[in-house]
């Protein structure tokens, strides 16, 4: 794993977050891709923007719709080419 998405020896994966293309290194979680895209992962019941807290599937702040599957914990799902991610 590398910090850089465009490392020459690891072809980047391109997916979309709310319609915008994001390139990440293989092994990147969907939660990290959402943060890299600059979007919050969800808006809370009183309208606050939220982003991941625990990073390990406990807090549910990172839940997003992935390829049409709603409420997935995006920190537990790895990015795949062409994935369609929608934040709440």
């Amino acid at each position: 794993m590398h910090e850089h998405a465009h490392n020459s020896d690891t072809p980047a994966i391109t997916l979309t977050v709310n319609g915008a293309a994001v390139s990440v290194a293989p092994g990147t979680t969907v939660a990290a891709a959402i943060l890299i895209s600059g979007s919050p992962t969800r808006i809370s019941v009183t309208g606050e923007p939220r982003a991941p807290l625990c990073g390990m599937g406990i807090c549910f702040e990172c839940r997003a719709s992935i390829n049409g599957f709603a409420h997935r914990r995006s920190c537990q799902v790895l990015c795949d080419s062409g994935m369609d991610v929608r934040t709440l």
Binding site: E3, G27, T28, V45, C54, G55, G57
Partner: protein, 443 residues
């Protein structure tokens, strides 16, 4: 799907891996289930160079005859000897490939690990305020932090390890704030002298983060920013100062994941699962290892996991050396607990409008009028959101002294199609199950 295991292990961290590997030596059918996409748990998470014991145990696991169920989580137990699990990631595109599985077992080893304890303070819900382990996990999951300014705070031995890793990834660590005073940490360091490996580890980490300020008796009292974190206010000895930064990595040590042990009715004493010499819980056939039995770190987890793996397959005679090692590890549990005990002043961090329950956005000012978690839950929805009190439960336990002792199935949100599938199997509706006591009666 429906599968039967001689030994089923829940959780693929160090404790679960070592349990599965030793159980598999017996030749029986061993299963290892975890909600993450890969084995290793949180401490041996991919995305960074792994320590030697991690590489060794992961290699042993790969060589062992263990059926791996990665990306699955347990959400219910309809009856003794049976668990229900659902796929954590994406449901499979092929309709015939089920996203629900019924797991039958002769022996169950619970290795559910721990999570960070989070304490509410003004601004803790802002994006880029994360756990210490939380930010570390995000970075291992591909978040780029090169050149980012980071404050690491909270309590516990994890802080130095996280700071060292983030620094290694090119982050600028501005400060490491340990809430425990130096007077408590000194005896902890002395005890560690009996465990040279751990001292070397600590010194190595300190050197790796030598550019950062390391403060003891210090904690964040506020995080501010518009839409995301922009600065942190730290407090030490009555003095406060503000530090502009990109991330705050703040976690107050660890609390065990007890939802599944509770659901099964395992006896719990002072917040941890009680086990006997062979890691056996109060429920016959159910063993428990690692952090749920006491926060003791990787080395103890591996020892307990092995004991359980041997005991579950009737080979206790091989566990003599391990039992001595476990006794030494349990001293470390006590040392950790004493050194990193929370300062009571941390209870005063939330203001009236500070949210305590992040799922349902329930503020501190509303909660302080209630006297129990149950009372607060019924009237304010605190703890009723998606995380089911996993985050706010540990906070209200510390801030208000409320016991978090109830759990209801499904212990993780399950899809309606999954719940329908459980019904189609003739099992009773999990939502009908009530208290722990009732569960114990049925087991």
């Amino acid at each position: 799907m429906n599968e039967h295991f001689h030994v089923l292990v829940i959780g693929a961290g160090p404790a679960g891996i070592s349990a599965a590997v030793r159980a598999a030596e017996s030749g029986g059918h061993v299963g290892l289930l975890d909600d993450n996409p890969a084995a290793g748990g949180q401490i041996w998470r991919k995305g960074a160079s792994l320590p030697k014991p991690a590489r060794m145990w992961l290699a042993r696991l790969n060589a062992a005859s263990v059926e791996r169920l990665h990306g699955w989580h347990v959400f219910g137990s309809p009856t003794s000897g049976v668990l229900f699990a659902e796929r954590t990631g994406l449901a499979s595109p092929a309709a015939e490939q089920a996203d629900f599985i019924e797991l039958n077992y002769d022996k169950l080893i619970l290795a559910t690990g721990a999570r960070e304890r989070f304490l509410p303070f003004p601004g803790w819900t802002l994006p880029n305020v994360m756990g210490a382990g939380g930010l570390d996990a995000m970075v291992r999951g591909g978040l780029r932090i090169k050149g980012k300014r980071i404050v690491v705070a909270g309590t516990g031995p994890l802080l130095l390890a996280v700071a060292a890793h983030l620094a290694h990834r090119g982050a600028q660590i501005l400060a490491i704030c340990e809430q425990a005073p130096l007077s408590r940490l000194r005896p902890f360091a002395m005890r560690l002298l009996t465990q040279p490996g751990k001292v070397a580890q600590g010194i190595g980490l300190r050197i790796a983060t030598r550019d950062a300020h390391f403060y003891t008796g210090c904690w964040p009292v506020a995080a501010t920013g518009r839409g995301r974190l922009e600065s942190v206010t730290l407090q030490r000895r009555g003095k406060q100062w503000e530090l502009p930064c990109d991330y705050l990595a703040c976690g107050y040590h660890l609390v065990p994941n007890l939802e599944l042990p509770r659901l099964l009715g395992c006896g719990i004493h002072e917040g941890f699962v009680t086990t006997d010499k062979w890691q056996q819980t109060s429920i016959p056939g159910v063993l428990c290892v690692g952090e749920p039995t006491g926060i003791g770190g990787v080395e103890l987890a591996i020892v307990e996991g092995q004991i359980a793996g041997l005991a579950a397959t009737g080979r206790v005679e091989k566990a003599d050396d391990l039992i001595q090692k476990r006794t030494r590890g349990q001293r470390f549990v006590r040392a950790l607990r004493e050194a990193f005990e929370l300062d009571p002043r941390l209870r005063a961090l939330p203001l009236g409008e500070t949210l305590v329950c992040r799922c349902e956005d329930v503020p501190f000012g509303v909660l302080r009028d209630y006297t129990s978690a149950r009372d607060a839950k019924l009237h304010t929805r605190c703890g009723m959101g998606a995380c089911q009190g996993r985050i706010c439960g540990a906070a209200t336990e510390f801030v208000f002294g409320w016991a978090m002792d109830s759990v209801r199935p499904p212990i993780l949100p399950a899809s309606l199609s999954t719940l329908a599938a459980t019904g189609a199997r003739g099992a009773h509706d999990p939502s009908n199950t009530t208290s722990n006591q009732n569960r114990r009666d049925t087991l």
